[in-house]
Amino acid sequence: MHLPGIRFSSSVWRRIGQSLFFALFLFLFIKTDYAGVDELTWAVNLLFRLDPLLAFSAILAGKTVVALMLPALVTLVLTLVFGRFFCGWICPLGSLIDGSRHLFPPERNNFDPGRRQLKYYLLIFLLSSTLFGLPLTGLIDPFSLLIRGFTFAVHPALDYATTSFFTWTYQHAPAWLNALTEPVYALLKHMLPFAAKVYGLSVFSLLLLLAVLGLSSLESRFFCRKICPLGALLAIFSRFSLFRLAGGTPECSKCRQCRNVCRMGAIDAERTVTSAECILCLDCMAHCPGSRIHYSLKRQAAGEQAIDLSRRAVITSLTAGVLVPLILPTRLLARFADPLLVRPPGALPETAFLGRCVRCGECMKVCIGNALQPAWLEAGLEGIFTPRLIGRIGYCEYNCTLCGQACPTGAIRRLTRDEKQVTVIGRAYFDKNRCLPYAKGVPCIVCEEHCPTPDKAIKFREAKALNSKGELVELRKPYVIEELCIGCGICENRCPLNGGAAVIVTAEGESRQRNSITKDGY
């Protein structure tokens, strides 16, 4: 740790580490976008693939080993060696919580260990319910929470603010000022969405993220201490880690500086560090007046608190996880799926898809047409934040395969361009009561113009029709050839009617099997 003339304290090193990882996160986040070539250059899903909670969850849900998620093993092995460094150094949500702690200063002292078992119970519930058919892990996974908040709300809002400001300067400021501001805008645009984006659940996602940050005003790193199931999983491993922090001795007398500064409440009155709770922020090392705290190869101290879970609570959460999924087949969804729920191309069959999808929002971030939107309850409680295509907001670009590339778990399969172009995600139909040539005798067929399949799925017939003036006009009436339609939604998107489109895509005919549509049939 020696640089010429400078000696950084241990917590400064941690802060530098956190900043670097956060910068890496932001870089990958911004790079989750089309970059002029069909393949994504940066493995933006890297963070998720290092997340052992999501790995376990995807594996339990699918009851198969998901090769994409194997890098998560590295995190676990490193945790066994070094402890819960992941939470203190790498987790971008943790860094954001640390970074915003002056906005939400904790009210209480830091050393209340109460209810920190909650996160373990939550972990047990989530994993067992996932195994039995109700995958909810992604809702609360720290990466997913963070990226959803950023993708759906923070990033588009920053874009809106920036663009509004520079539109104002562009339109009203003198030329000399524009000579200064326009290059700044061009530079900022590299970090903002290429075109303005909108997202469903943007306010909700932001509120969730703010709630996580705001909870720190109860106790520092409240979310990490008591809620985060990823933290809980890593804690179970870090309990046995080879390296750990230790130091406090009877010589410390009344000094409890380490305990006062610990943001995780991991140090008890006897100055023993609970390694399961310690996230290695190293503040105690930096603040110890006697420099007695060291990070080294040590066995577990005799007085160290175990993870004191109550047997009853463990059994309750385990059982709840088994029982709660039993309610699922009682829903209407079990017999009739929402026909407007169009999934991205390459999505696995619905049950497998819901199990694999970690609600990270990466596909919606990377979707070049802004077409993929977070679902609310259309796919049930377990479907919240899963991607669906809303044609009126955006359409699926015919040549684009980015969502499958960005998906960290393979819930959306990686398709080649050729495969994608024959993958049916739905089919279009015409609402002839609204479609101009049918309803009003007015020529249009913008849908036909935009239909991207080489043999167009929307064709037209020459016909005569009466318009509103009572004139007999010759025009072209569009219709869909089902076998050619892949459901990309560009027709619905470009339909020039105000309000709802006269051509609408439903999930009917999608390539993946639907296992829940009219099960019993006739």
């Binding site: 002029g36 684009c400 020529p443 249009c444 991207p452 080489p454 020039p496």
Partner: protein, 304 residues
């Protein structure tokens, strides 16, 4: 009388004289009748880059359209995420050659842009046009994505169907606008040629223009006035336009058409598809508004 007084007097007299000149509204049809035959140049060849210079020669070359210091717009059709051989977009070599010619004629800036139908970045990249312009390596040649701030509402005073629309600022405040459409099939308007290519500088809900496409395009042609139209018919898309996607629908005919008369260029290009000029509603509408010639007998075709 000192010099100052002299200048002041000259100025005041000339203002007064100008104001007293009566203004007449001359019917465009009358003007059209008196005009000489529209000149149209036709060239065939496989080297598309060289072909551009050849097709411009009978028209007096690029220097006849671009004067030193001019701000020039070269407006291709790169509206779809398709590759050059699919025939849905203007060939990158044709665009590149026009930009190079304009630069050689002394243009101070040459802008290339199109408001695309598919995602902009994909269209710019996969049409090959972005790369072709960057390859020129001249900072005066600029290919930029559409900036939504630059759409300004424009009154279309002579419009019969539309009287106002948002138009891209760069397309309006330039000295020389060069239209470079690709000739291809289109479901609604039968063909898309020069006049239809002007839709690429429009803002707003362009889909609604389709409800009276012929007259709307003619109305637009009263405000978007290319000094030069070069129609890329090196490959023409015969079916499933305007996007195509199947090479079988593309016919290679290695042809370029150039004219200062936008209607004549469209009218002649129609014949490449074995159609008559009056098959295209926008050509007929623009002709009847006096915007150019569509009578093939009155178009002087020079093969370069």
């Amino acid at each position: 009388m000192d010099r100052r007084q002299f200048i002041r007097d000259v100025f005041l007299w000339s203002v007064g004289a100008t104001l007293t000149i009566p203004r007449f509204n001359i019917l465009p049809e009358v003007l059209a009748a008196e005009k000489p035959r529209s000149l149209l140049s036709l060239a065939k060849g496989e080297d598309y880059f060289a072909l551009v210079a050849r097709v411009l020669t009978p028209l007096g070359g690029m220097k006849n359209f671009v004067r030193p210091g001019d701000r020039v717009v070269v407006k291709p059709n790169i509206g779809w995420d398709r590759s050059p051989e699919q025939g849905a977009t203007t060939h990158p070599l044709v665009v590149k050659a026009l930009v190079v010619q304009a630069l050689e004629a002394g243009a101070s800036k040459v802008f290339v842009f199109d408001r695309t139908c598919n995602e902009q970045r994909r269209c710019y990249a996969n049409s090959g046009v972005e790369k072709a312009i960057v390859e020129i390596g001249d900072s005066r040649a600029v290919i930029e994505h559409i900036d939504p701030r630059k759409f300004i509402p424009v009154d279309i005073a002579k419009g019969k169907s539309i009287t106002k629309w948002e138009i891209y600022k760069d397309a309006l405040d330039c000295d020389c606008y060069i239209n470079v459409p690709v000739a291809k099939h289109h479901g609604l308007s039968r063909l898309t040629l020069g006049l239809k290519n002007s839709m690429g500088v429009l803002g707003g809900n362009r889909g609604s223009l389709h409800q009276n496409i012929g007259q709307n395009l003619a109305d637009l042609a009263t405000v978007i006035r290319p000094k030069l139209t070069v129609i890329d018919a090196t490959r023409i898309l015969l079916r499933s336009g305007p996007q195509g996607g199947d090479i079988k629908d593309v016919k290679k005919i290695d042809t370029l058409i150039a004219s200062a008369d936008p209607v004549a260029a469209d009218a002649y290009a129609t014949t490449l598809f074995e159609l008559k000029p009056d098959a295209i509603a926008s050509t007929v509408a623009a002709y009847s508004m006096g915007l150019g010639e569509m009578d093939l007998a009155r178009i002087q075709v020079v093969t370069a």
